[in-house]
Amino acid sequence: MTLHAELRVRRGGFDLGVDLGVERGEVVALLGPNGAGKTTALRALAGLTPGGRVTCDGSAWDGLPAERRPVGVVFQDYLLFAHMSVLDNVAFGPRARGTRKAEANARALDHLRQVGLEDFAKAKPRTLSGGQAQRVALARALATSPELLLLDEPLAALDASTRLRVRSELARHLRTYEGHTLLVTHDPLDAMVLADRIVILEGGRAVQEGAPREVVRQPRTDYVAHLVGLNFYRGTAHSTEVRLDDGGTLTVAEPADGPVHVVFPPSAVSLYQEKPAGSPRNTWPVTVSGIEQHAHTTRVDLDGSPAVLADVTTATVAELRLQPGDELWASLKATEIHTYPR
């Protein structure tokens, strides 16, 4: 009932070596920086790039060429067939797998409706916008009802509201879906909403794996911490004192010993113009190195020991008249800091 893959691919100087397991009905999200090998892994699973071994429900796929593998792929650049109508593109998979024309067309139209493009059934792909093309590619992959669904950033080109709708359609589809799904994405929200498990790929290796909430709360690499928007450090704990590898010391609430990861949200950091006298045990001088205006808060990039990101309200920005180069005091309650062993 499981898909198990040991992927070993070498392309130019790049080397992928990762073991993946996907349960039936499970959705695994593959996250990682550009060039981490996500697309390469998907290609190997689909049988487009040789390398490694795949077994699914006990049967080995190793010798099988792509068209004999029960996979559906959404490619990063869609690869819609330019000379076919949108409907024919979506109906192509069912037709190729032996469905009769009328039925394949009906099914294709159904899938087009799900991505909100039934009006474009007769259009040529050339006349679609980027986001429309991506939705057609998604419909095309879903229309074959494959054992293994491989989605390479299937929502990247969608606008915010379509994305919301297509994502929840996709979530609904995947919840009732019997096969195995592997989803490549750069958006942690997609992963949170759609995936049962997250695998983080960096430099061709899986560096972290786990349930979405777990990964979000306990990142193990800078990339993941960035991804979920946490301040992240490596350090060595001696009881409630953590000496950070890159300089600085933090006092935490939960005692620990040995090498640990340290995380806290940017919103846990407060900024003061004068050294505060109050209760926070962690107070250190910082210099503003950057300011980014977000929709409802302002993110401040601070140099110091340690360097830190802080989210402050617009009122605070106005009050402190923040400018790059300003010298401030950062303060952080020990109870907001989360540590866990490395």
Binding site: A46, G47, L48, P65, A66, E67, R69, P70, V71, G72, V73, F75, L79, F81, A82, H83, M84, F92, G93, A96, R97, R140, T144, L150
Partner: protein, 259 residues
């Protein structure tokens, strides 16, 4: 919004066009137009013209059926020795057509390597028949189709074929529905070359199929014979052949351009 066309491209292009077209203008100027109407209605000319069109079209069909798969095999087969095979395919181009005809006789003639068995077992004899004309034309014209379709296949983006494979399409279905439509302009170009070459084919045809009016005398053969007796008539016949071929090709223009 339209850009000026660059002189450095347009000048050689026009020179090339002139180079190809001025000799035709020369022919048209010299052609004894007064005899044209009588030539056009002459039964033999009509017969030869019809035979030419039919044979060239049949030969083109044969070339498409055999040549497009061959081009695919050369471009996609990943077989060893493809380079040499590709070079061998061009051989009928290099072979003087008359020698090509001799080669066909050696193989498919009544006493040829293959022909003797065809004759003995099936009672089929190709030389000196209309079928023989088609064979000779196809032999000479096929390399044009193969090489240009192969060039088009090589330039095509193979990832669309990969996408088709992941949708469960066999290589044959992929070929029919994805690869071939994708390189249609290349196939059209190859087909045009092939048809035009077959239409103008002379040396291999007269050697392999002989020159029998109504059966194997195509327009180029008629032109050749006319050169023996009436050079002016030969030019008129050539002009007729030209006009018909230009009419056919320009008439296909819409499909051609759409491709």
């Amino acid at each position: 919004m339209r850009q000026r066309l660059p002189v450095v491209l347009v000048l050689p292009a026009l020179a090339g066009l002139a180079f190809l077209l001025v000799p035709l203008i020369g022919l048209l100027v010299e052609a004894p137009w007064t005899t044209l109407p009588s030539q056009l209605v002459s039964a033999e000319v009509g017969e030869a013209l019809k035979l030419s069109l039919v044979c060239a079209s049949l030969a083109t069909v044969v070339c498409l059926v055999l040549g497009v798969p061959l081009a695919w095999l050369l471009a996609r087969g990943d077989l060893p020795g493809t380079g040499v095979v590709r070079a061998l395919v061009t051989v009928p181009l290099v072979l003087p057509p008359v020698v090509g005809g001799v080669a066909l006789l050696l193989v498919l003639g009544r006493r040829g390597l293959v022909g003797q068995h065809l004759d003995a077992w099936f009672g089929v004899s190709l030389p000196f028949t209309t079928a023989g004309v088609v064979v000779a034309e196809a032999f000479v014209a096929m390399p044009f189709l193969v090489i240009s379709v192969e060039g088009a296949l090589r330039a095509a983006d193979r990832r669309y074929e990969e996408a088709a494979a992941t949708l469960g399409a066999s290589r044959w279905l992929t070929f029919r529905r994805v690869t071939l439509p994708g390189v249609l302009p290349g196939v059209v170009a190859g087909t045009v070359l092939c048809w035009a070459r077959a239409l103008g084919e002379f040396g291999a045809t007269i050697t392999f199929a002989g020159n029998f009016p109504g059966t194997t005398t195509t327009m180029p053969l008629a032109v050749y014979l006319a050169l023996e007796t009436d050079p002016d008539a030969a030019i008129v016949l050539s002009v007729v052949l030209l006009l018909v071929s230009v009419a056919v090709l320009a008439g296909l223009r819409d499909r051609w351009i759409r491709a």
